[in-house]
Amino acid sequence: MSIPIELNEKDCEFKAIVLDRVPTANLDMCLTCGTCTGGCPASEQMGMDPRKLVRMVLFGLDEEIKKHDWAWVCTMCARCFWECPMNIDIPKLVYNIRSSWPRDSRPKGILGSCDNHIRAGNAMGVPTDDFIWTVEDVAEEIRESSPEFADMQVTVDRKGAYMAINQNSREPVTEPDELGPLWKILHIVGADWTYPSVMWAGENYCLFLADDQGWKYILEEFVYHIDNNLGCKMVVNTE
């Protein structure tokens, strides 16, 4: 699977770009020990592995790196980073390879989910009204069918609720019955909680797309809504 590397007069432009964005990436520190590669389930996929990737960056094989699809097979799980004796931030390197792709050429599935999130507040792209309708419908069903939960409260945008809880959008959209168990637990402990209507979903496909701008926009909208409209003291991630 290995391809001999031809070292001409290469500039390490991409390395400089990454180090500029992530000064603590330590890319020059690689000892080629291979700890990253030995513990990486994506090693050998598409003839690539983390150590090889770092080598290629250091050799200035910028074009080869940027066009290699492996950046989308690595899951940025960060196991390599935490095991690395030299603290080389390979996940951030991969993130920057992803972000070097023209936005429209990045994988369509991830791109679509990120765009949906920016537009509709969730990766599935469902309108907020549909989310609210589903939540109220499922809650009503539980209240009617289970007497012990007859006074169970499920709200969206209840001002002053102590907690704002997010939810992976696949739950309300494709498997709404999965919502009930969490609500029952919250009811039993007497949690004072609500769903936010703005950026209510727990997933983050703009992170996966390496779209800083989209990611930042989602967070800013979310934070503004929680702090200024709802005043919740706590935000709870459900995954």
């Binding site: 389930p41 097979v73 935490w82 994988p107 029952k184 459900t238 995954e239």
Partner: protein, 178 residues
């Protein structure tokens, strides 16, 4: 929010941290009595994003405390390696939607082998991506396990899991406590 230095007034936490707190405070009265005789075996996936990449050992410990409380310590089997050193399931980083299914499944084979080696029949996956990926590799490689959320087993343990809330349970637990 840390990445972009966005100021915010609220505290940020995870539901698993809260489950652990509520159990310790006695607000959430749940135990593993339901599984004393059944002895259904469970393992759990440490999601990279909440364990290795953010809350680290604290989250790994809280998650095990919660799971052992609801399934019984003797019925919980960890994968090797686990916790902060766990392997990613292969569904992270958007892989489920990245369009490289062959590579995603080859990646997931590592996780599949880990799960099968525990001989557990249920995998608790407290992350939607992990849940979907572990289910997919289980089908693809013909595994002997089901994949469930924590809330499903917690409600099952408390006897409040509705009939329509059992999609992910196997036939052995599908009607338990109804």
């Amino acid at each position: 929010m840390r990445k972009f230095n966005i100021p915010h007034k609220f505290e940020f936490t995870n539901i698993i941290t809260l489950y652990a707190q509520w159990i310790r405070q006695g607000k959430l009265k749940v135990n593993s009595d339901w599984n004393k005789d059944l002895k259904v075996k469970f393992t759990a996936q440490d999601p990279c994003n909440i364990v290795r990449k953010t809350l680290r050992e604290q989250m790994a410990d809280d998650m095990r405390f919660v799971i052992k409380t609801i399934v019984g310590e003797e019925n919980f089997i960890d994968m090797v390696p686990c916790g902060i050193n766990n392997y990613c399931c292969g569904g992270g980083g958007g892989a489920l939607q990245a369009g490289y299914p062959e590579q995603r499944r080859a990646y997931g084979k590592v996780k599949f082998n880990q799960i099968q080696n525990t001989e557990a029949t249920y995998v608790i996956a407290p992350c939607h991506n992990c849940h979907k990926q572990i289910e997919d590799i289980g089908e693809h490689y013909h595994g002997n396990y089901h994949v469930v959320h924590i809330w499903t087993i917690m409600c099952l343990a408390m006897g409040i899991l509705g009939e329509n809330e059992r999609t992910y349970l196997g036939p052995d637990l599908a009607s338990l406590g109804l």
